[in-house]
Symmetry: C2
Subunit: 338 residues, 2 copies
């Protein structure tokens, strides 16, 4: 039973960095060698999308117009050559774009077969749309904490969806999490999730309190999604020998690091990027990792969906998301499946 791909599709496009979003009628792309065509079912707006939309680039070069969206779910409806690509044909998958700027906010996406995770029976297609960016990152962070024998974790985006996952996984593995939020009203969000240690970085004694708490709990793994001055605040508070994972740039500013603080305390700052981390795993480790994430997708790693919107509302949804940001997950429902 061959799927009949239409000639054109609806896709969101942005014509320049920080530019507005448009819904356009575009040709459906064709998969090349090792690639698949995914008919998208759902795709979220993530905090990391905001950086991409502002013009921050992972690959260092992108060609406008772009289609945004760093993850989603759907069904593989066509494949290019290659064993793994062929195997995925007809299967539901969670997926990410393998080319920057050819993202998931579209009815169809071509991506590398290696950027698709086949979904287990019974996994919810909406939750699966949010499998990659947050759940895999949360699991990876906990694995890094365990392997590095870190006794506790400091998390800078505690009120976010990712923050909730890290907190729940930490609770299950007896790894205390020190939760940093930016606004007073977010303290309650983290407390309602059962967060015991919550610090508001806007308060004047923030660094002193973080230092005291990190020393007491022996928190030596700092997850820095912010950059800018936050990095130096974390370094100031960090116990001797701590590791800071630099994994996003939500301040949109470069990290500031005092080399004296870094050298006296033997601090380590490691750039951390999920695709690079996944590449350090062999095939069997990757499959086990993906299964583990899917098993937890209805519980510890579930995302609370605040609103479902069509692609045609992309700009309006984004505007609202920027205001509410971490409190509400917005999901695009795409195509006939929506």
């Amino acid at each position: 039973m061959k799927y009949r791909t239409p000639a054109t599709m609806q896709a969101v496009q942005q014509d320049e960095a920080a530019g507005r979003l448009f819904l356009r009628e575009l040709p459906v792309p064709q998969p090349g060698a090792g690639e698949v065509l995914v008919r998208m079912a759902a795709a979220p707006i993530n905090p990391s999308d905001l950086g991409s939309l502002a013009g921050l680039s992972y690959s260092g070069s992108r060609t406008y117009p772009i289609t945004p969206g760093n993850e989603g779910s759907g069904t593989v409806v066509a494949s290019g050559s290659g064993l793994f690509a062929k195997m995925l044909l007809g299967k539901p998958v969670a997926c990410s774009p393998s080319t920057e700027g050819k993202g998931t906010w579209a009815e169809y996406m071509v991506t590398s077969a290696q950027y698709c995770l086949p979904l287990r029976r019974g996994v919810d297609i909406e939750q699966a749309a949010m499998l990659v960016v947050n759940p895999l990152t949360a699991l990876a962070m906990i694995e890094i904490a365990r392997k590095g024998k870190h006794r506790a974790i400091v998390n800078t985006v505690a009120a976010s969806n990712l923050g909730g996952m890290i907190l729940r996984l930490g609770q299950r593995q007896n790894i205390p999490v020190i939760n940093i939020v930016r606004r007073a009203e977010q303290v309650g969000v983290v407390r309602s999730r059962g967060g015991e240690y919550v610090l508001n970085s806007s308060e004047p004694d923030f660094v002193a309190r973080l230092r005291e708490l990190a020393q007491r709990l022996k928190a030596t793994l700092f997850l820095d999604a912010i950059g800018g001055e936050m990095t130096q605040q974390l370094a100031d508070a960090a116990p001797f020998g701590s590791t800071l994972l630099l994994y996003s740039k939500m301040s949109q500013q470069n990290c500031s690091v005092d080399p004296f603080v870094a050298l006296v305390k033997s601090l380590r700052f490691h750039g951390w990027f999920l695709p690079n981390w996944l590449r350090t795993k062999n095939l069997f480790q990757s499959i086990a990792f993906s299964r583990h994430a899917q098993n937890l997708l209805a519980t510890d790693l579930s995302s609370h969906i605040g609103r479902r919107v069509p692609l045609s509302s992309a700009q309006a949804a984004l505007d609202r998301y920027v205001q509410g940001m971490t409190n509400e997950k917005v999901l695009f429902r795409i195509g006939a499946a929506g």
Copy 2:
């Protein structure tokens, strides 16, 4: 034969950060438990002293007035309790201050016995005054390169005394060194030492040339003594998976690090501090390391002494040093031995 310690000594003092230097008559300090009293023979001005004199602090807290000087040589003339302290009595040593602000630019210094390296027979007391900061750092950097399987090294202070040592050790171990200098006239200094790869960071195509050269030579260990914008330039040029050692702050500015560059290339930034590194060695490793350094002190690890001056000329010597900086090593000759 008991050494008769005088009641007072001449010592250099600075009364506030960035303040002038004075030669003062002070009481000779007494060694406590595990400490020794060293009658100083010689002590250098190092680039790292400039940061200390400007007020940068390794320990984070210091009480003025301070006596500067991070290394030197002399004879242990009194000891407090403790086996190692007693064993050093009467011996010539290379030494560093164990308390920040109680330095080597004085006729006598009390320090921890653990901060003294007993000198082998025949080691020159002037070269020994410069054994710790540069030779041990150079040897450590080469060991880090070897153990980390880095194929080549990028060094940011190539025209310095340390730069020469790293270059010579690298040549002997077949580890190419990419030498970065800041001024056109320093290119010749490095070339005259046999440096093959020399880049001037003041030239407009510096980053592009460094990137090309680092890729070609597989240089994945970057020694950053500068901080500030240099750190980001190194990160921009660094191959995937590179390590940047942050070990000084000669720009007197915090390192700037773009987290996107760091995460996409899985870069690592490690604060590196010689005393911390030495503490990772056991006693036997430390002795072997110190012997190795002393054996090379007349050859690969020798420092060219530009001028010898008395402590009474400290301020004048410092003023001249700041102008010439890396081109000429200034040594204080101290006490009767001078």
